[in-house]
Symmetry: C2
Amino acid sequence: MKLLYEDDVEKIALGAAVLGSGGGGDPHLGKLMAIQAIKEHGPVRLITADELAADDLVFPSAAMGAPVVMLEKIPNGSEPKRAIQALESYLGKKATAIISIEAGGINSCIPIYTAACLGLPLVDGDGMGRAFPELTMMSFGIGGLPASPMVVCDEKGNLVIINAINNQWAETLARAVTVASGLFTQIGIYVMSGDDVKHFAIKNTISLAAKIGAYLIHESGNPVNGLINLVGGYILFEGKITAVRRDLTTGFIRGTVRLEGLDSYEEHVLSIDFQNENLIARLDDNPIAMVPDLITVLDRERGVPILTEGLKYGQRTVVIGIPCDPFWRTEGALKYVNPHYFKYDLEYTAIEEIMKGIS
Amino acid sequence: MKLLYEDDVEKIALGAAVLGSGGGGDPHLGKLMAIQAIKEHGPVRLITADELAADDLVFPSAAMGAPVVMLEKIPNGSEPKRAIQALESYLGKKATAIISIEAGGINSCIPIYTAACLGLPLVDGDGMGRAFPELTMMSFGIGGLPASPMVVCDEKGNLVIINAINNQWAETLARAVTVASGLFTQIGIYVMSGDDVKHFAIKNTISLAAKIGAYLIHESGNPVNGLINLVGGYILFEGKITAVRRDLTTGFIRGTVRLEGLDSYEEHVLSIDFQNENLIARLDDNPIAMVPDLITVLDRERGVPILTEGLKYGQRTVVIGIPCDPFWRTEGALKYVNPHYFKYDLEYTAIEEIMKGIS
């Protein structure tokens, strides 16, 4: 067990944004919420999956929707807790620990906030090891756990309990509720036992995020090469953003960003398609990294990640690629998150393979 | 108390379709369900609001969405019962009676089905005295009762419990769930006490529907004039349908029907705008009946009502108008259902007033 203090929240938020592959949402407000909750309730105990008892009851706590909306439609602070408590009351059982559904900005902070408010430990792990846009794309569900019953809360006080026949329907119905209530909600979902977490969670992602965040905060020079070493990734491109196209109407941020090369990448163009998260990076129209591998856009000077909602014309960036957790390359998992699932006519090729061909 | 048998279902369905103002859905499948349930479980006790005890617990049972979809997306039969039972279990209380939310085809039959399946009495009354397209347009809610907690079930087995902050949000969230799950669901909503029913329900609409239905079934000649006498209505037009425009994408059936006059109406045109129910009838572009008064299109030969989803090119029809229940003309109620609410720049004028001006 380790204790998470205010400065750990900063590190985790920053590191999770690198792992978030452009998604997971701007952590700013979530970070403030988590820091405030730790100030009020004391540090959060971070425990490993191994420390859980078989019959522990672990509740994932998360935000759903287009996180960019949160910047204007501010949570009232009670939603994450209400979502968990409504699930507890519906199930007639109490949560004994909280876990993240994904490694991504806001959804790395919200579980810290919820754990602090409820006085519960946070499990070091999550359901993705990165961020993904849909509730079906979690190791918990792919492993066979039901997403239902799940709870969706909004900042106005509306509360919806969903008992879906399968996880795809949980996603469809929760997405409809999220869009109707203004594109951003807080959820409770995939309630599981300590043993379930041991079997199905992707482990130690909170401490990995903290390590990445600490490196970026403390490194004084250009941190990109060091970061690449830390995460075992690749530099894909250096360039300036010359166009961004976004559409929010489906409850996701969908779009494309176009970058023109700088220095050794001059005369080259990189485009990245995203749906909350970066999905496919193409160098001069040739795919060089694709989902489920991680594609993250960093500020060229400071190495801090730029999320898909923060992409703007003129930003000078380094784009990196990171191999995904091996779980996603298993046959059972890959079908839920490969380029075909996102409607691309592309066979998944691991980033290590593509890079071998290029160098 | 009166007992409802199979043949009463036929009468109620037919009469409620007249009161349904074009909405409430094709009763055919609901009728079959109710008749089958009475065969299996015995007749349903129809009780007046006066027969309820103050602490009776009355559950409205209804279908939501675009009823035309039900003709292809057939209920599995368990949804209405499941909706009530999920509400009972959520509230930790048992229903002692069932009531209709509206007088309209399917939503007059579903409550009979539910009451028969659960062995509960049906209250003679409803929340509209006609049909309306939205959950906020009920005497229960306008009187001050909360729609929440409400339950939405679909034929696949998905079940959603909505706890909304107000009735407009209950409508918005339930509509979103209904659209996402394929445009047709079964709901439980506005759970109320026996006293609430006495205060807020529109009374005796089931027996009125049965009376209208019996008249239409037994009358051998042209029944329109007799029907007009029975309901205190007016003949607005006789004509042939020459165009129908419909749109289903919002979870309602919205559209317009155009009729060209026959006999004494020759050279005249009637158009009717609808949103599930008929809203505004215009004779040569002049409004002659408007919501909340009832506008019903009848088959010219047989006097049977044609619902908005059944309107077809070439049908020869009589269009009648019926004054709405006096409740809808009170200031507190009219604002929820007057033409302005449906985005028409029209001041509500009672059909009796308009008819005085014409004759």
